[in-house]
């Protein structure tokens, strides 16, 4: 078995060990085939296509970097990139502040109903983005939506056009995105808070430190790594946002909520021109952004959290 070769580095010849471990290779075969065919090969294909004037199944002629020059010249790409950065940065910062605050409060020793709060805050995380989109699109309806109806009761009339005002629409989506994800980061923060040794707080309170200085002097420094990890996870997750935009605004008004993932989709499938090569080049830009942040996440520990 492998253990023996581990203890005796100069073990049997490589091919003998490989033969001994044939069952292990057999067990690895399904996952390797599955992940290669449906994840690694598609990204390789996307990369290859980004150098061709491809249309759906036809590869088309090789065009070198033309697709990349085209996306750099396309106003829609710049708009989508800018929107994606605003959406990602806005969502990440606000989600972090809100979820950390709520996690600290839920974690206070005398707070009752911790499990109930955790479960309630987590409900949107397990709700399909299509349903999330429908609920919020309905609540944000300018006339019949419950938000504007409630605003009119306190004298704000007419309420804002949440999803059709070009200056507001992207931030409305940020708001919904925060609602969807707060619970996820809250759970990660609570687990990290519970891992902090309580004796630090006991010592601090004997020294007369108040709640705020305990938070800023003990909790925050000890959560530093968790915060960094959360920021990266948030960025990676929000960069690829697709379904929410697709359901709520279709990228409108006037492209103000078009994000990278929806732009890629629309260029390939949505415009009727089926510009796969162009769209593949845009995909690669998004991929490089995600890869950079995932690599950063791996530096700060196991990136086993990019779930759901």
């Amino acid at each position: 078995m492998a253990e023996s070769s581990f203890m005796r580095p100069a073990g049997p010849a490589l091919w003998t060990r490989m033969f001994q471990e044939r069952t292990a290779y057999l067990f690895l075969t399904p996952i390797v085939l599955l992940y290669t065919i449906f994840s690694l090969y598609p990204i390789a294909q996307t990369f290859e296509l980004s150098f061709f004037a491809a249309k759906i199944v036809e590869q088309g002629p090789f065009v070198g970097l033309k697709n990349y020059r085209d996306i750099l010249a396309a106003p829609g790409f710049h708009q989508a990139l800018g929107n994606t950065l605003v959406f990602t940065a806005g969502s990440t910062v606000i989600v972090l502040v809100v979820s950390l605050t709520l996690a600290v409060l839920v974690n206070i020793s005398w707070v009752r109903g911790k499990t109930v709060f955790k479960v309630v805050f987590f409900l949107p995380v397990v709700t399909s983005l299509v349903a999330v989109g429908y609920i919020w699109k309905w609540m944000m309806d300018p006339t019949y939506g419950v938000i504007n109806v409630a605003l009119s009761l306190v004298g704000i009339q007419p309420g804002p056009n949440w999803l059709s005002n070009p200056h507001l629409a992207l931030w409305s989506l940020v708001l919904v995105n925060i609602w969807k994800w707060v619970g996820y980061f809250l759970i990660i923060f609570i687990a990290n808070l519970q891992a902090i040794d309580q004796s630090y707080y006991e010592a601090a309170s004997i020294d007369g430190a108040g709640a705020w200085s305990q938070f800023s002097r003990i909790t925050l420094p000890l959560l530093r790594l968790a915060v960094i990890l959360t920021v990266i996870l948030g960025i990676v997750n929000f960069l690829k946002a697709f379904a929410l935009i697709f359901v709520m605004t279709q990228g409108g008004p006037a492209g103000r909520t078009e994000l990278m993932a929806t732009y890629v989709y629309r260029e390939a499938f949505g415009t009727g021109q089926l510009r796969f090569g162009f769209s593949a080049a845009a995909s690669m830009v998004l991929f490089v952004m995600i890869m950079a942040f995932t690599a950063a996440a791996n530096r700060f520990g196991r990136a086993g959290e990019v779930a759901l």
Binding site: M1, P30, I43, W179, V247, G304
Partner: protein, 283 residues
């Protein structure tokens, strides 16, 4: 936080403020669910009133009956598709993950780390980024518009592999070795010893795989062409975009789409939380 203060009123004030913040936050999170369900069971004209009616004047499930009997919109079929796709993707994901995690954590085959990094590398390739490549691959395999064409891409989720792999690394090896000495085959050790010991991680991985497969919209949307193959998430969008569904119909579909995952989560929250936080504790 836990300090004993002499002034009791101040402490009471703190408690009121803390519970108020948590209560309001919980209300903001929960209200949209309430509003969604309420909007599907009140009379349709009441949905379109510019007045704040927090309670329906009359409870009726007519919209659910109407949708389930609508010949243009096979909701029951959508539901069945969702069940088949998410259970299929969950099974493929967890079984391949368990086999690979066992092979890599219990054996050290030459080149093992290569396989490990190959699996982990897929975490950098979310489905949303490889739409074009995935479309062409599934098309070339003639799996367009089939269950396996959706199940297999949805089964790619290295996070669950990591969850099971890390758990197996923490298990003692003595039992395996004893069983091997007694002449047990490798798959017997896996099935009778390792898998039972890995149960908590396998439960968590199964739940996370199911919850994310059920929610996924992008992959089935890209890889289906006929309404008969739509899962609920895609069917709901189809109903709104193509069939011009009313708000109430759209919300009813959203409710049918939401309830299964909420139920599964509420009943199993302990395993879901431990799966999310495994490996996420930094300090």
């Amino acid at each position: 936080m836990t300090s004993r203060r002499p002034i009791r009123w101040g402490q009471l004030g703190t408690r009121v403020v803390v519970y108020a913040i948590l209560g309001v936050a919980a209300l903001i999170i929960a209200f949209p669910f309430y509003w969604m369900v309420i909007s599907t069971i009140r009379p349709e004209r009441e949905v379109y009133t510019v007045a704040l009616n927090l309670l329906p004047s009359k409870v009726s499930f007519a919209m659910y009956q109407k949708l389930l009997g609508d010949p243009q919109l096979p909701v029951a079929r959508f539901f069945l598709n969702s069940v088949v796709i998410s259970i299929g993707a969950t099974a493929v994901n967890v079984i391949t993950a368990v086999l690979a995690a066992y092979a890599l954590s219990r054996h050290r085959p030459p080149g093992g780390s290569l396989f490990y990094y190959l699996i982990i590398a897929t975490m950098m390739v979310p489905g949303e980024v490889v739409l074009i490549g995935l479309f062409r691959v599934v098309n070339a395999l003639a799996m367009m518009d089939t269950y396996q064409g959706m199940i297999l891409p949805l089964a790619v989720n290295a996070v669950n592999f990591l969850l099971i792999y890390n758990y197996m690394l923490g298990l003692p090896r003595e039992l395996d070795e004893a069983a091997r000495v007694d002449g047990a085959k490798v798959w017997q050790v896996l099935w009778h010893i390792t898998v039972p010991l890995t149960r908590p991680a396998v439960y968590s991985a199964t739940l996370l795989a199911f919850l994310s497969a059920w929610q996924n919209f992008t992959i089935p949307y890209l890889l289906t062409q006929s309404n008969n193959m739509y899962p609920l998430a895609v069917g709901a969008l189809f109903a709104e975009n193509t069939l011009m569904a009313t708000k109430q119909e759209a919300l009813t579909l959203a409710t049918i789409l939401t309830i299964p995952t909420l139920l599964v989560f509420v009943l199993t929250q302990r395993f879901v939380f431990s799966g999310i936080t495994a490996g996420a504790i930094k300090g």
